[in-house]
C-alpha cells in the first residue's frame, strides 16, 4: 500500500494520477469499496480498455496495471465514526485484501483543537489511523503545492 497525505487542495489526486497512472474508474471517493464493487469496476475497466484498443488513460499516462485507490480517505473515517463504526478495524480488513492499493488522505490535525467532542475525536482518530497506515505502507508521500515529497 502507498499512502499519500497533505493539506486540503494541495493537488494530491492529480499527483497520484500523474505519478501512478490511476484511472478514475478505479478511484473511490470518500468510501471503502466492497469486494463486489471492486470486481465490477475492474471487469468494466478491462473491457473498456480492450475496446479502446490502447492502454492510454485520460492523462496520457500508460497504464501498466489497474491500481485501486481511495481518495478523501479522511471523509470515509468521518462517516464511519458518525455511523458508530470502527474505521480502524474496517481499514485493516480492507488492506488485508487489497495490499497494493493507494490511500489518499487530507492531513486534518494541524489546527486549534475543536470545541465539539465529535470533531476532536475525528481528528485524533484520523491522525492515529494515518500513523498506523504510514507504518505499514511501502511508501509515504506528502504533497504540498502539487509537489510530492517522499517521506518514507
Amino acid at each position: 500500500m502507498k499512502l499519500i497525505i497533505g493539506g486540503y487542495a494541495q493537488g494530491k489526486l492529480k499527483y497520484a494520477i500523474e505519478k501512478y497512472g490511476l484511472d478514475l474508474r478505479l478511484v473511490w471517493d470518500g468510501e471503502l469499496p466492497g469486494d463486489g464493487e471492486i470486481r465490477n469496476a475492474e471487469t468494466e475497466f478491462v473491457k473498456e480498455r480492450a475496446s479502446d484498443g490502447n492502454n492510454i488513460n485520460a492523462k496520457g499516462v500508460k497504464m501498466k496495471n489497474s491500481i485501486i485507490a481511495v481518495n478523501h480517505f479522511h471523509n470515509w473515517i468521518k462517516r464511519s465514526l458518525s455511523e458508530g463504526g470502527c474505521p480502524e478495524e474496517e481499514i485493516s480488513r480492507f488492506l488485508d485484501r487489497y495490499q497494493s492499493c493507494i490511500i489518499i488522505s487530507d492531513e486534518i490535525g494541524n489546527g486549534i483543537i475543536p470545541v465539539e467532542k465529535f470533531e476532536r475525536e475525528y481528528r485524533e482518530r484520523t491522525g492515529r489511523i494515518l500513523v498506523k497506515l504510514a507504518g505499514q505502507a511501502e511508501e509515504v508521500e506528502r504533497v504540498i503545492c502539487g509537489i510530492g515529497q517522499k517521506i518514507k
Binding site: 497525505i5 493539506g7 489546527g111 486549534i112 482518530r125 491522525g127 494515518l130 500513523v131 504510514a134
Partner: protein, 187 residues
C-alpha cells in the same frame, strides 16, 4: 542541547518525543513536565493514555501547568534529560487561566523566557509543540491572539533549539539539524 518537536494532533509526536528523550538520557535522570490541567473526563482520559505510553520508560513526572521554570525547583541536581509536553497547553494555561485573558506579548514572553531558563539548567531539553496554524479558520479575537502567540513562541524556540523535528504521520522529518547548523557556523 535542545530539541524542538512539532506535529499536529494525532501525528505521533508524543511517542516519538518520549522515545527520543529516553535515547538521549543514557542513565541520567529523566523528567517529564506535564502541562495539562486534569479538568473533566476527557482530559483525564488523555492524561491516562499518555501515562500508559510513558510507563516503563523511567520518567519522573512533574505537573507544571504554568510558570514552567518553577519545575526546576523540583528536580535533583546533576545531569538530567527533560521532556516538556506540550507548549500548546502551557501557552493556553498562561493565556486563559487568570480572571482576564493575558495578551499575546505577555504569553510569548512568559513561555519563551521559561523555556530559556530550563535550557540553561538541564543537559538535554526536549520540547513538544503543536502545529495549530493550518486549519484555515478565523476564530474569535482571543483565539487568534493565542495562535499568534504560539507562532512567535515556536519561532523563538526553533531559533534556540539545536535541532527541530516535525513529526508527520509518525515519521520524523528534520527541519533543523545539528550537523548542518555546525557546518553553517564553521563557514
Amino acid at each position: 542541547m535542545m530539541t524542538l518537536i512539532l506535529g499536529g494532533s494525532g501525528s505521533g509526536k508524543s511517542a516519538y518525543a518520549e522515545d527520543y528523550a529516553v535515547s538521549l538520557s543514557k542513565g541520567m535522570k529523566i523528567y517529564y513536565l506535564a502541562t495539562m490541567r486534569a479538568f473533566g473526563r476527557e482530559a483525564g482520559q488523555r492524561i491516562a493514555r499518555h501515562r500508559t505510553l510513558r510507563s516503563g520508560k523511567g520518567f519522573l513526572t512533574i505537573e507544571q501547568p504554568a510558570a514552567i521554570y518553577k519545575a526546576l525547583e523540583r528536580m535533583e541536581t546533576g545531569e538530567k534529560t527533560v521532556l516538556l509536553e506540550c507548549i500548546s497547553n502551557l501557552a493556553a494555561n498562561e493565556m486563559f487561566e487568570g480572571e482576564m485573558p493575558k495578551g499575546e506579548e505577555a504569553v510569548f514572553k512568559e513561555v519563551a523566557n521559561g523555556i530559556a531558563r530550563l535550557r540553561e539548567e538541564v543537559t538535554h531539553l526536549v520540547v513538544v509543540s503543536n502545529n495549530v496554524f493550518e486549519d484555515g479558520i478565523t476564530y474569535d479575537r482571543e483565539t487568534m491572539a493565542y495562535i499568534r502567540a504560539m507562532g512567535r513562541i515556536n519561532e523563538k524556540l526553533s531559533a534556540m533549539a539545536d535541532e527541530v523535528v516535525e513529526v508527520v504521520v509518525g515519521i520524523p522529518l528534520m527541519v533543523k539539524d545539528k550537523k548542518s547548523e555546525s557546518r553553517k557556523k564553521r563557514k
